[in-house]
Symmetry: C2
Subunit: 321 residues, 2 copies
DNA sequence: CGGACCATCTGACTTAAGTCAGAAACTATT
DNA sequence: AATAGTTTCTGACTTAAGTCAGATGGTCCG
């Protein structure tokens, strides 16, 4: 069961963009580059070379293996070692051998190191706070623009994973999903009347709940609900209800839309369904969610007859796996 | 007549921002910082150290004084000189003495240097084009977010200047202004019926046209229209029409709103009006432009009786200087 | 046990970037 | 004409960052 799907590859030869748009993007680049130093100046201002600060930050408050931190920063082993020695000389970290493999070493911040780490965090928070204050009344709007760009610029770091449908992240996504349906449906939306699949149906071994995360923030989800009895192994031929799953609660945060994320989520959901022995998937949706229906059609779903009494559902699709 | 006004100073002690907002901003910072290298990678990829590339870029295709380029990059004179020597050794620039001051020197790209400069530009454009292509159908939305953030991040580099009301930049601003009025007024907007002041009235010595620019792009304007006869010098006491100016065509690009720019423009317009000997300003506006009317009141304008037959005007203000 | 393999470390070296003091060439001022 | 002040340049030095070739001490497997 793959835990992630590569983002869609762009078309082979991109046509040159509009010169005006190029100028706009380059203007942003200049502004962002000249702001970049200011943006995360937390590494500076504590009288330590950038490399050492980055290493301390890469180790995290609980420490990590030397090799892992080195790989994360993309450093040469010699350089990494030297940075660790300086941090050690300053009394900020201590290194111990790995309990299971004497070759590997673990670098862990000391109390002083953790204090220093916290100081970086405070500096960074204070800096962010000051920036937001400077934005004044434009702040909500600018933060929304930042969310949007952060997702787009880091689209290849959006990771998909299986999560528990009752985890806080999953619940937050679903709450955002319900709130959006309530806004978009002319008649509003009430969860209770829509036949919400219980959490157990979206948990192994029956199904799964998929979460898309970017830099620690949940920005999308998809539920795969399986039937009550686990499908029997090996019995093929008949296409019974025991081998049909249902896709529910597909939601993408506004700032992550248009980046091909729902396609990645749906595609992973199909893989997971196949891994659970399902042979067919179905789903219902509302006519107001036009983008969703268009995507389903593009991904090979066929429109079928109504299969439930969900009052909000108007369109029904299925797809053989 | 000051050419620029400092941006408004933020309130003394900013209260700490919402932790969620801090996290959002820091997420953007991380994304932008890690994208920053990629964002303007044009300096790399041509086998030259960053410093030399930056210097070549700072000189521009037509060359410049050594001191000017050095100040722009904020470099030590020794370092700057050494960078120039390496560029000279590579045959990319040549230096000549300043025609009027033998101490100063002018560094000018050679044909090869200009070709190199153009290569950087092409690389940068190609990179921007590829980024836009990667954005796919989300591009228009993302570019708008970039415009918004570029203005906000570089707000202190938004410069005001006096421009000709018939320059292309001024015309572009006014066209955008008219288009917006047409969208916002229930009845639409037609320039011809609104008593457009002729260009001559917004040009010295009668008046002025003010333009706000960010990184070469016009993002706002304000017209100061003076009466036909230049005000007579010295004759004080009476407050005749010959000493009353009118503010027209105040417009701020959507991406630059909420940054205190209209206040800066209006304040400069008042200074310019005083410099032209005006003792009173007046303006008309529409009730649909609620933000505008609120700003006028905050800046000390008083509502007065209708003074023209502009069918779009509903509110009238004046301000003694 | 020996050898292949591995993670980490050390020492020697390179490059980019920048600082600082002062020299050289020039202009402006008294 | 002497002097003070510019602008640019040169040489000597420093620091940060990174590369590379082994050395060291460990694991794993036949």
């Amino acid at each position: 069961m793959p835990q992630d799907h590569a983002p869609e590859t762009p078309p082979a030869d991109p046509p040159p963009a509009d010169p005006g748009d190029i100028a706009r993007l380059r203007r942003f680049n200049r502004a962002a580059t000249s702001a970049a130093g200011v943006l995360d100046a937390s590494f500076l201002g504590r009288g330590r070379p950038l490399g050492e600060s980055r290493m301390l930050h890469a180790l995290g408050p609980d420490g990590d293996e030397v090799g892992a931190a080195r790989a994360r920063l993309g450093l040469d082993s010699g350089l990494a070692s030297r940075l660790l020695r300086s941090l050690e000389a300053e009394g900020l970290i201590e290194t111990v051998r790995h309990p299971e493999d004497g070759r590997r070493r673990i670098a862990r911040p000391t109390a002083r190191g953790r204090a220093e780490f916290a100081a970086y965090e405070r500096l960074s928070d204070a800096h962010a706070s000051a920036t937001i204050a400077r934005f004044g009344r434009a702040a909500p709007d600018l933060l929304a623009a930042m969310d949007r760009l952060a997702c787009a610029l880091g689209a290849d770091r959006i990771a998909l994973r299986v999560a528990d449908p009752e985890s806080p992240e999953a619940k937050a996504c679903m709450a955002a999903y319900y709130a959006e349906l309530d806004r978009r449906f002319a008649s509003g939306f009430d969860v209770d009347s829509s036949g919400d699949p219980e959490a157990a149906s979206m948990r192994a071994p029956r199904g799964a709940f998929l979460l898309a995360e970017f830099d620690g923030a949940a920005i999308g989800c998809a539920g795969l609900a399986g039937p009550e009895a686990a499908p029997s192994e090996g019995g093929d031929g008949e296409q019974d209800a025991g081998r049909t799953g249902e896709i529910k609660r597909v939601w993408i945060a506004p700032q992550a839309r248009g980046l091909g994320l729902s396609r990645r989520l749906m595609s992973l959901a199909e893989d997971v369904a196949r891994g659970l022995g399902m042979t067919r998937l179905r789903l219902d949706t509302n006519g107001a969610l036009t983008e969703a229906a268009a995507l389903y059609r593009r991904m090979g779903w066929r429109e079928i007859e109504r299969y439930n009494d969900n009052p909000y559902a108007e369109l029904f699709f299925d797809k053989p796996l």
